[in-house]
């Protein structure tokens, strides 16, 4: 009876935006009389940091300090359409909408500034809340002064709108799955390595270490990217070794009734993390960003399963990799069925064994 260390890897991909696209996000922006910026977006913040990310994009695109930006996603009267916060779309799809709105309102600011400074808007830029003449940065006017002029001199409300809609990819041939165009806004890639310790007496699997690399395109906010990667990893660990909604399946009894009666990861389950952010900018994301929110819990279970095999020599092909499954597999020491060039694992779970109404030919 002993504890065994094992190591395994996985590499994955994940699309950004709703599958087949066709999922709009829209935003509008207005400028207060002192130059502060109000963003109205319909993107819910589910803990992913959508408010922060979209505010950073707006601040960057207009050229004003981040703390000038107020973000309002509070209701459907003031905020335009956003399909929602899912499908890893909040940074990429909704981020593109606020980026367009920000560029739009920036142009309005430059037009008013051009009138005030008697210079073409094309020769102006905005840096840190000040409108500067390109190449002659000493000639400048604060965005706050532009907003005052717009409100009380020119009688103009400076606003911007933006909408992002990636074309719906129709399934043109349901026999083959052929589509009319790209069914995703972008694809992100990641790889994961897991080191585990397996106790061959109790069947307990502990994930000790996760090395994870994600191509995020551009990290709009590296701290939030790390939060997604490391928080997502713990969800992947729960899926991999702990959680089960139906612990007495096929009975629907004894499902959790309190958080204490459902096995999900807690702080003691947290492995050591090595998180590698790769920035390979996407062609059409805001500032090159991609969306990695969801894929952050996809890579761990496969890497953990391989690490368990490396540790104790058995393949577990069900989740969660519970002590019971590990002990049963150690006892069975099952070998795949080998016939000619066929190597068949898990025959006993196949529809060919279990069902009469559907079959499947290797």
């Amino acid at each position: 009876m002993a504890k065994h260390r094992g190591f395994g890897i996985s590499s994955i991909e994940y699309p950004t935006g709703m599958n087949q696209n066709g999922d709009p996000s829209q935003a509008w922006i207005k400028v207060k009389p002192d130059g502060r910026v109000d963003v109205f977006s319909g993107t819910a913040d589910i803990g992913n940091g959508a408010k922060t990310i979209q505010s950073q994009i707006v601040a960057e695109a207009i050229g004003v300090p981040y703390d000038w930006v107020t973000f309002d996603n509070s209701n459907t009267d003031s905020s335009p359409v956003c399909t929602g916060t899912f499908a890893s779309r909040a940074t990429f799809v909704a981020g593109n909408a606020v980026l367009k709105a920000a560029k739009d309102v920036k142009q309005k600011i430059l037009e008013i500034a051009g009138k005030e400074m008697e210079i073409s808007p094309d020769d102006l830029e905005i840096v840190d809340g000040e409108v500067l003449v390109k190449g002659a940065p000493t000639e400048k006017l604060g965005v706050a002064d532009v907003a005052v002029a717009a409100t009380w001199t020119h009688g103009v409300l400076m606003t911007g709108t933006g909408a992002q809609l990636n074309e719906f990819a129709e399934i043109v041939d349901p026999e083959t799955g052929e589509v009319s165009g790209p069914p995703h806004a972008a694809i992100s890639y990641a790889a994961c390595a897991a080191e585990v310790e397996v106790d061959d007496e109790t069947g307990d699997v502990r994930v000790l270490r996760l090395i994870q690399a994600y191509d995020v395109g551009t990290a709009i906010n590296p701290s939030l990217v790390e939060g997604q990667i490391e928080g997502g990893a713990l969800m992947g660990l729960g899926l991999g070794v702990l959680e089960n909604s139906y612990p007495y399946y096929p009975s629907t009894d004894h499902r959790g009734y309190s958080i204490g009666s459902y096995y999900m990861p807690s702080s003691e389950d947290m492995p050591s993390y090595e998180t590698i952010i790769i920035e390979n900018p996407s062609a059409d994301g805001p500032y090159g960003a991609k969306g990695i929110g969801e894929m952050a819990n996809n890579g761990q279970p496969g890497a953990i399963a391989a690490a368990v095999h490396d540790a104790v020599g058995v393949w577990i092909s069900e989740l969660p990799i519970s002590p019971e499954l590990v002990l049963r597999a150690l006892e069975a020491k099952a070998e795949p069925r080998r016939e000619g060039k066929l190597v068949a694992f898990d025959d006993e779970k196949s529809v060919n064994t279990v069902a009469t109404g559907i079959s499947w030919t290797p």
Binding site: E175, T176, P183, Y214, L239, I278, A305, W360, P362
Partner: protein
Amino acid sequence: MKAVGARLPRYDGVGHVTGQTQYVDDVRVPGMLWAKALRSPVDHAAITRFDTTKAEAMHGVHAVVTWRDVPLLEFGHLSALGIPADEPLLAKDEVRYKGQPIALVAADDLATAQAAVEAIEIEYENRPTLFDVRKAFDADAPKIHSWGNWYPHFEGEMDRRQIRKGNIDEAFDNADKIISGVYRPAAIEHVPIETQIALAVPEPDGRITIYSCTQALYFSLGVVAAHLEVPMNKIKIVGGTVGGGFGGKVDTAADTLAAIAAMKAARPVKWRWTREEEFLASSTRAPWHMEIIDAVTNDGWILGRKMLTLHDSGAYARFSPYGLTKHSFHHTGAYTIPNLHFDGYVVFTNRTPTTAMRGFGVTSISFAVETHMNRVADEMGFDPYEFRLKNANRINDTSPNRIRYTDPSSVDVIHAIADAAGEELAPAYAAATRDPREGDMLPEHLVGQLKTEGH
């Protein structure tokens, strides 16, 4: 200072960690009633008797909402995409999962609402249950829906999602080894700190304001307006700050019934699910049944893949047809496999309906494909890094849908973890890039699948 790329603190982080952020449950309005649901205690049954008279007559009870009070009883989450509705907002004649809502009571306080729920007279006639997706096709399988046990409305009125690419028979003939495996991840819970909740407030101007925990404000607006058969300007959804959402709050769970109860009672109504309801009746991540068979060569190429997926939708479709389609589009993982034969079914069971959860449709694939890749590597004596690098997506490779990969970074991320793990790769693999295939990385079987332009 540049805003993009800066490690700025979370916009609303201080509010969250100091308890000052206002979530739906923090909103209290004068005259507010509390709601409780009558939920099915059984997995599958006909409702043979249903009488709310006693509950309605109780002191302190202001509304008992049943299916008769819902203007449009069935509205599918994917109706806009042409996917027919199959789930009543409140059960009518039958229940298909334990926890399915049947009635909602709005009363002065929670205890009165609960007492009224218990005063509803209802009788069930149990029906046989189905929990194993593999057995859903058997001749003697219990019937979950009148039209059958699996979803029949894919494009072309097909009853499954198919992918076909290349010449699968030739790939299997040419393989040195054919390796199969079966992968079954379990259903898991979302467990948001904030359980499902809604507060619906009738306004003086005839509108309804709904304080919602939705992940998708306009989605809820559309769903509520459709069930109520009112234009969107009669409803205002207030939200945007969610106490944890991992897909389970994309479905509109509490908003519509809270609104109907508020209209019937002409009072504000809050419906807050208990933790037990959240576990029993809110959607889970789907359990999946996946069978993969790969045609592999001794020199480390995957020539073809056959795959069968049975996606356990639980009792109703919700987003499952969407999830299965996404699953099918990604069933090769991060690798380029030119010959494919995929069949997937959305199968109904008496589980709580499953729905979107972080990685919807693809989390399952990632586990199945990656475990299978590691098994194949182990069986064939391949290095798991090199086997992956060889088959990894490159620029100009094509997806299962014949879409050109323009920006794959699988090689980069594999190199990154190999470096961090101190893994020494053979020079040919250490030098691999994501650039279009050529030389040893462009074997004959991959030539035909390349695209050099377009999508």
